[in-house]
Amino acid sequence: MVQNKDKVLMKGNEALAESAVRAGCRFFFGYPITPQTEVSAYLSKTMPKVGGLFLQAESEVAAINMVYGAASAGARVMTSSSSPGISLKSEGISYMCGADMPCVIINVMRGGPGLGGIQPSQADYYQATRGLGHGDAFLIVYAPSTVQEMADYVYAAFDKADEYRTPVLILSDGMLGQMMEPVVLPEPKDAPTDKPWATTGTKMARKHNVTNSLYLDPQELEDTIVERQERYNKVKENEQRYDAYLTEDADIVVVAYGATARVARNAVNAARAKGIKAGLLRPITLWPFPEKILTELAETASSFLCVEMSMGQMIDDVRLSIHDSKPVNFFGHTGGIIPTPDEVLACIEKSAAGETFNVVPYKSKMKGGE
C-alpha cells in the first residue's frame, strides 16, 4: 500500500503532466493557451531530463498533426490545450480517429464560445462527447474531479488509447488545473513497444504499413466505420466509470462531474443533514456515459438534478439514459462562474418539494431587470 509519506502537494495540471511522463509518454507537442499553461511549462522542464521531447508547435493545428505523426511512429504522445485551441485541433483529432491512432489530449476547459473567458467552464461537453471532429467517431473522455484523479486518469488514458486504438480526451477545467492538493503519483512504467501497425519503416521484413483515413470506395469506408463501431461498443460495455455517493436510498440524485461534482457533494451532505435523501452520481467517463447505473437509479429515485458549468449539456445524456422516466432538473452557471454549495442545496430542496426547473441564474433578471 502507498504510504502517506508518498504524498506530494501539486497543482492539478502539474500532477497530470508528471503522471503522463510516468505512463511512459516521452513526446509532447503543444501551443500556449490559458489555463493549461502549467502542463506545457512542467513538461518543457521535465521531458529533456527523461530523454523525451517537448516541442512548441507553430499552432494548435500543427501540434495535433505532430501528435498524429508521432502516434503513427508508435510513440506514446500527448498534447494539451484549452477550449478555443481544442476547436483548432478538431481537424487532426478526426483524422486520428479515422486512422485509429492512439494519443492523449488534454482540454483544460475555459468559458466559450469564441474567445469566451479564462475562468473554469464545462461548456465543451457536447464537443468532447460527440466525437470532436467531423465524421462518425468518438473519443474516450475522462472527467477527473480531484488532483489525484488528474494523475490517475491520464495514467490510465494512455493504456486505454493503446488498447482500443483511439485518441483519449481528459476533460478538465481551469479550477482543477490550477488548484493544489496532495497526490500520490503512480509508479513509472515503460511505453508498450508492440505496435505492429506503426509506420516505423518496413526494415524489409514485412508488408508496408499505411496510416490512413481515406477510403474512396464507399463500401470499404462503411466497413471500416462499422468495425470501429464494434470497438466503440466494447468501450461502452467495459469502460463506463462513475462514483456513486449516497445514491442507494436517494430520492434526489444529483448528477455532476469534474469541479462541479465537488460542490455538489457538499450540497448533498448539507441536504442529508437536513433530512433530505440526496445522493451524487458523478460520471468519471463522459463517453462512454455511465448509462447503466443511471438506468438502475431511475428505478428508485424520484428525480434527478444536473449541475453543470454550462447552459445544460450533460443533461441530455442523463435524460437519454433514463428515457425521461423521471424528472431531470437543471441548475447551472456558465461563463466562468462556479456554482456554490448553497445554490445547489437550494435546488435539492426544490427538487425534494417536487418542483421542476431549469435554471441558470441571470444577474440582471434577479435584480428585477434594473
Partner: protein, 258 residues
C-alpha cells in the same frame, strides 16, 4: 539472341498502376523518387507522407511505410515521425495548394526549425485533384476554374515563390527548383532529390526540391503542348536553380579555412 532486362519497376513500387493523368509530372517524380530509394537502399527505413492532392493515394504505389495526412499538414506529421524516429528517412510529398496555401505555416515552421525531412514540392500552378482551381502559384493572368477571366493580381494577389522564400530561413539546408520536361532535366531533378536525402542523413536541416510540373488535364493542353507552355510561362516566373545549399556553404567555408 537472349533478351536482356534493361529497365524494371523499382522494388519499392507496388504493382499498382499510377493513377496520374498522361503528361503529369507526378508520375515522373514518383518514379525517380522510387529509383533513388532503391539505389540508396533505404526502402526499409523510409516513411513517406502524402497529404491531400493528386498524390494522396501514393500509399497504394509505394512499398515503404506510408502516412496520409490532412491538407497542408504533412510537414507537421513528418515532424512527429522524425522526432520519434530520428534515423528514419522521412519524406513529405506535397502539391502547391497544400504546401504554399493551406500548409504555408507548417512549411515555413518546419523549415525554420530545420526539421531533418525531405520535401518534394510539385508546383503545377493549379489545384489538380479538385478539378483546376487557382493555386497560390497560378501565374498572373492564368485562366483556371476559379479565375475564369485570368488571375487578376488586384483581386487575388501574386504567386508565391517558395524556394526564394524558404531560402531566407536558417533551418533550410537545401532549396532547389527543378523541372522534368526533358530527360536532362529529369536527371537534374533526380540529383537534387538525392542531395536532399543525403542532407537529411547528414542532419543538415530541411530540404525542399520544388519541381515545376505540368497539369495537361486542368491546363487544357495535350501533354506535349503542356511541356511547351511550362517552358514559356512557368520557367520565366519560377527560375530553375539552387536557392540554398548548406552543404555547399559548409564545403566553401571549409576550403576558405584551409
Amino acid at each position: 539472341m537472349a533478351e536482356e532486362l534493361k529497365v524494371q519497376r523499382p522494388h519499392c513500387l507496388t504493382d499498382v498502376n499510377f493513377s496520374y493523368c498522361p503528361g503529369c509530372g507526378h508520375g515522373i517524380v514518383n518514379r525517380i523518387l522510387a529509383e533513388l530509394i532503391d539505389e540508396m537502399g533505404i526502402e526499409g527505413d523510409s516513411v513517406i507522407i502524402c497529404p491531400v492532392g493528386c498524390s494522396v493515394t501514393m500509399y497504394n504505389f509505394f512499398n515503404c511505410d506510408m502516412i496520409e495526412a490532412a491538407h497542408g499538414r504533412a510537414p507537421a506529421v513528418a515532424t512527429g515521425v522524425k522526432r520519434v524516429l530520428p534515423d528514419t528517412f522521412v519524406f513529405s510529398y506535397q502539391g502547391d495548394g497544400d504546401l504554399a496555401s493551406i500548409g504555408m505555416a507548417e512549411t515555413v515552421h518546419s523549415a525554420t526549425r530545420g526539421e531533418n525531412i525531405t520535401v518534394i514540392f510539385i508546383n503545377n500552378a493549379i489545384y489538380g485533384m479538385t478539378g483546376g482551381q487557382m493555386a497560390p502559384t497560378s501565374l498572373p493572368g492564368q485562366v483556371t476554374q476559379t479565375s475564369p477571366y485570368g488571375r487578376d493580381t488586384n483581386i487575388a494577389g501574386y504567386p508565391v515563390r517558395i524556394c526564394e522564400l524558404v531560402s531566407t530561413l536558417d533551418g533550410t539546408a537545401l532549396a532547389q527548383r527543378v523541372t522534368v520536361d526533358t530527360p536532362a532535366h529529369v536527371r537534374q531533378a533526380k540529383a537534387a532529390i538525392k542531395k536532399g536525402i543525403e542532407y537529411q542523413q547528414r542532419k543538415l536541416g530541411y530540404s525542399i526540391i520544388e519541381v515545376v510540373s505540368s497539369c495537361p488535364t486542368n491546363w487544357g493542353f495535350e501533354p506535349v503542348e503542356a511541356m511547351q507552355w511550362l517552358r514559356e510561362n512557368m520557367l520565366p516566373y519560377y527560375p530553375l536553380g539552387v536557392y540554398k545549399d548548406k552543404g555547399a556553404e559548409l564545403e566553401a567555408a571549409q576550403k576558405g579555412g584551409e
